[in-house]
């Protein structure tokens, strides 16, 4: 049976009927065509699908769309746009923090949550804080650099 869902996505209030088994990731990608949220493993391990739920970084593949009812979701599409990138996106660009880009939307969501948390981020603890996002290309160094650079501009 379809379930009615009211959710705010990237600032826009939406009302949709969805089957309960639909994950938030599939809702975003297939129903809203917001394909910036990527799916790697679909069981919580790779972090590619990370989005912000009421400002907290969560796995969109491990959340049913109906669980987002009454809440606010921010995806990479809601973070900045060409010509008006966020400080974190600009730092990713400047530092070469992506190659194929598959992992990037997830790292941006994780990075955004870390920046918004207001905690002081150090180079020593970032590898641990980023352990929930996998990247097969960059070797992580430039991603750590980019997040530290964005910390400075916050």
């Amino acid at each position: 049976m379809e379930q009615s869902l009211r959710v705010k996505v990237n600032g826009q209030d939406l009302r949709r009927e969805v089957p309960p088994r639909l994950t938030l990731a599939d809702f975003l990608r297939d129903r809203l065509r917001l394909t910036g949220t990527h799916l790697g493993c679909e069981h919580g391990v790779c972090g590619a699908c990370t989005v912000l739920l009421d400002g907290d970084a969560v796995r969109a593949c491990l959340l049913l769309a109906v669980q987002a009812d009454g809440r606010e979701v921010t995806t990479v599409e809601g973070m900045g746009e060409p010509g008006r990138l966020t400080p974190l996106q600009r730092a990713f660009l400047a530092r070469g923090a992506f190659q194929c880009g598959f992992c990037t939307p997830g790292f941006l969501a994780t990075g955004e949550a870390l920046l918004r948390s207001g905690r002081r981020l150090t180079r020593a603890e970032l590898p641990q804080l980023l352990a929930g996002n996998l990247c097969r290309c960059t070797g992580y160094g430039p991603i750590v650099d980019a997040i530290l650079e964005a910390t400075g501009s916050r």
Binding site: P20, R21, T23, G47, A57, L62, L63, L64
Partner: protein, 251 residues
């Protein structure tokens, strides 16, 4: 990797949730943070006909320094680390990644009962009490040992919910240590141990080595091998970690 179809209910009170479980029994599953259940659904290792989402049941929320409602997330507890027994505060950052802890709950960790989970080990170590409730039989309180039956198996009946977990007051001067080995931060432990020394009494627990967390005694402990680590590795590393936490806690 797509779940089979199921129905979905989102009760807004405990009686309503217990009534749903009472009526649907084995056909339904409670949904907490979904960090273990949603993957099981996607892999079709679980195929309930109905999910009962506990997110809006206020009776399962709330936290004091000595007890947590089942729906308390690990992230919420981390933010109150100063009010917790220090051994719980030390273990929390090891429970998956912070994104997982934003959703994963104390109740879900205990009810899922992964032998490598930190919460089952903490519950055994601290001699926690688990309060469970069903519509027909009402409330009962179980010790951690009574609650844990085997890997991924608890004393919860199909119509029963875990309501809360409580632990004794942490006395001034009590000592403790916690250690685990995982391949990367946030991965499930390949072996772990924790120890408390309270009023001169030492209690140590080893976990992620066998079918359940175990209180360390003279008789050694049960080990199992799998894809991630052999039984011999777990026996050796478990022994070393136990030695380490018992030494650290004694100092």
């Amino acid at each position: 990797m797509k779940s089979a179809a199921f129905d979905y209910e989102r009760p807004t009170s405990l009686p309503e949730a217990l009534d749903l479980l009472d009526r649907h029994g084995e056909d339904c599953k409670p949904l907490a943070g979904g960090q273990s259940l949603v993957p099981l659904l996607a892999m079709r290792l679980a195929r309930p006909r109905l999910l009962v989402d506990l997110d809006r049941v206020p009776e399962l929320r709330g936290f004091t320094g000595q007890a947590a409602g089942a729906m308390t997330t690990n992230a919420q507890l981390e933010r109150r680390a100063g009010d917790l027994p220090p051994v719980i505060a030390a273990a929390l950052p090891h429970i998956g990644h912070f994104q997982i802890r934003n959703r994963g709950t104390v109740g879900g960790s205990l009810a899922h009962l992964d032998p490598a989970g930190e919460w089952p080990a903490l519950a055994l170590l601290l001699e926690a009490e688990l309060t469970v409730e069903s519509k027909r039989r009402g409330r009962r309180t179980l010790s951690a040992g009574e609650f844990m039956r085997g890997p991924l198996t608890t004393a919860l009946a199909a119509d029963e919910l875990l309501i809360s977990v409580s632990w004794p007051r942490w006395p001034a001067g009590a000592r403790w240590a916690f250690a685990e080995v995982a391949r990367r931060p946030g991965d499930f432990a390949l072996a772990g141990a924790a120890c408390t020394v309270i009023a001169g009494r030492t209690r140590a627990v080893v976990f992620a080595v066998g079918p359940l967390p175990q209180v360390a005694g003279d008789g050694g402990f049960e080990v199992t091998g799998d894809l991630h680590a052999s039984a011999a590795y777990r026996r050796e590393v478990g022994k070393r970690l136990l030695d380490r936490v018992m030494t650290q806690a004694a100092i």
